[in-house]
């Protein structure tokens, strides 16, 4: 994915007046069906990337749909200007309060690795406690101190984390993902009872220790194939331009 526009300061600032949704293509059947309606190639199949902008009702299109912002805007400044204009048409009813997270721990770890960001993840085997942890982490995620500086996972049961190379006990973690997002290093652990102030301090401290790897696409893919890394998608990859690779006999993640 070409993220060049999305990393520009003016686009990031304009994004604060939007709800920004970034899905992992081919990881949810319902989302695949939705995305295919938003944009598909000549074959009718969903391709690897999709981009659009929508009104708050998620029905009215505000920008031309395509595979990337470059299909709709000439440059980042043009994109940011349009975003400011679109946002001015709607009066916000409230601040954002939901936890910005992927659907599960395994996918969150992979996406954090893609973004070269630390992952904040809470673990509890108690459903009610997971609900409370999600609420606390949402407050942290939208705090001025940590806004957009880490990725978040929805609070998970310990067993869900065992689907990766990490098998975590209850608590709140800041994780430095490994290069392939299949495991990682624990940068910080906090008790589940920690309040939002303590969580903010703990996460900020871990951020100072975070050392993101430098990745280059060809080297990363070569290393991944040699090491038997194979990402299993939840739904079939349908992009006719996308590379195909058979699952190794040893199985994938």
């Amino acid at each position: 994915m070409d993220r060049s526009f999305l990393l520009q300061k003016e686009v990031i600032e304009a994004s604060r007046d939007f709800v920004c949704i970034r899905l992992a293509t081919y990881e949810d059947k319902e989302e695949v069906d939705y995305l295919t309606q938003v944009f598909h190639g000549p074959s009718g199949a969903l391709e690897n990337t999709v981009f659009t902008m929508l009104a708050p009702d998620a029905r009215k299109y505000l920008a031309r749909s395509g595979r990337a912002p470059q299909w709709a805007f000439s440059d980042a400044a043009d994109m940011a200007k349009s975003m400011r204009r679109f946002a001015a048409e709607y009066k916000p009813a409230d601040t954002q309060k939901a936890l910005p997270a992927m659907k599960d721990f395994r996918l969150s770890l992979d996406v954090a690795a893609c973004d070269n960001m630390p992952l904040v993840a809470a673990v509890s085997d108690d459903h009610d406690e997971r609900v409370k942890l999600n609420q606390k982490l949402a407050q942290v995620a939208w705090s001025r101190e940590l806004l957009g500086r880490t990725a978040y996972a929805r609070a998970a049961a310990a067993g869900d984390t065992a689907k990766t190379k990490l098998a975590l006990q209850p608590g709140v973690y800041v994780i430095e993902p490994d290069a392939f997002g299949t495991g990682g290093k624990i940068l910080a652990w906090m008790d589940s009872d920690a309040d939002t102030a303590a969580l903010t301090i703990g996460i900020a401290g871990a951020l100072a220790r975070f050392k993101p790897p430098v990745k280059e696409a060809r080297t990363h893919i070569t290393d991944g194939v040699r090491k038997g890394i194979y990402w299993k998608t939840a739904t079939p990859v349908t992009d006719p331009h996308g590379p195909r690779r058979e699952e190794p006999a040893s199985g994938g993640q």
């Binding site: 994915m1 070409d2 990031i12 994004s15 939007f18 709800v19 920004c20 949704i21 899905l23 992992a24 293509t25 081919y26 989302e31 391709e47 990337t49 999709v50 981009f51 009104a55 708050p56 009702d57 998620a58 595979r67 990337a68 470059q70 299909w71 679109f86 709607y90 916000p92 409230d94 309060k97 939901a98 936890l99 910005p100 997270a101 992927m102 659907k103 969150s108 992979d110 893609c114 070269n116 995620a141 806004l147 957009g148 500086r149 392939f180 997002g181 299949t182 696409a217 990363h220 893919i221 991944g224 194939v225 890394i229 990402w231 299993k232 998608t233 992009d239 331009h241 590379p243 690779r245």
Partner: protein, 77 residues
Amino acid sequence: MRFGWIVGLSVLACAAAALAQGPGGPPGPVEGPLPSHQGGIVWYGTLRSGIAEAKRTNRPILLISAAPHCHNVSGIW
């Protein structure tokens, strides 16, 4: 030898996908994190949670989707 071809074709395919996205060009070095003083865009990772929040807060939606792997190798957009 065959392995080199596979990786080469894979990178070319990813490059073609990137070119299809617009004038951004093929993937070179993966973009690093933002400077520590500046946070990036805050992303909801599921359609349901994002749309619900957009309706609740009456904010427009920036929607992106991408596969978090290349050649089924994870850890790279």
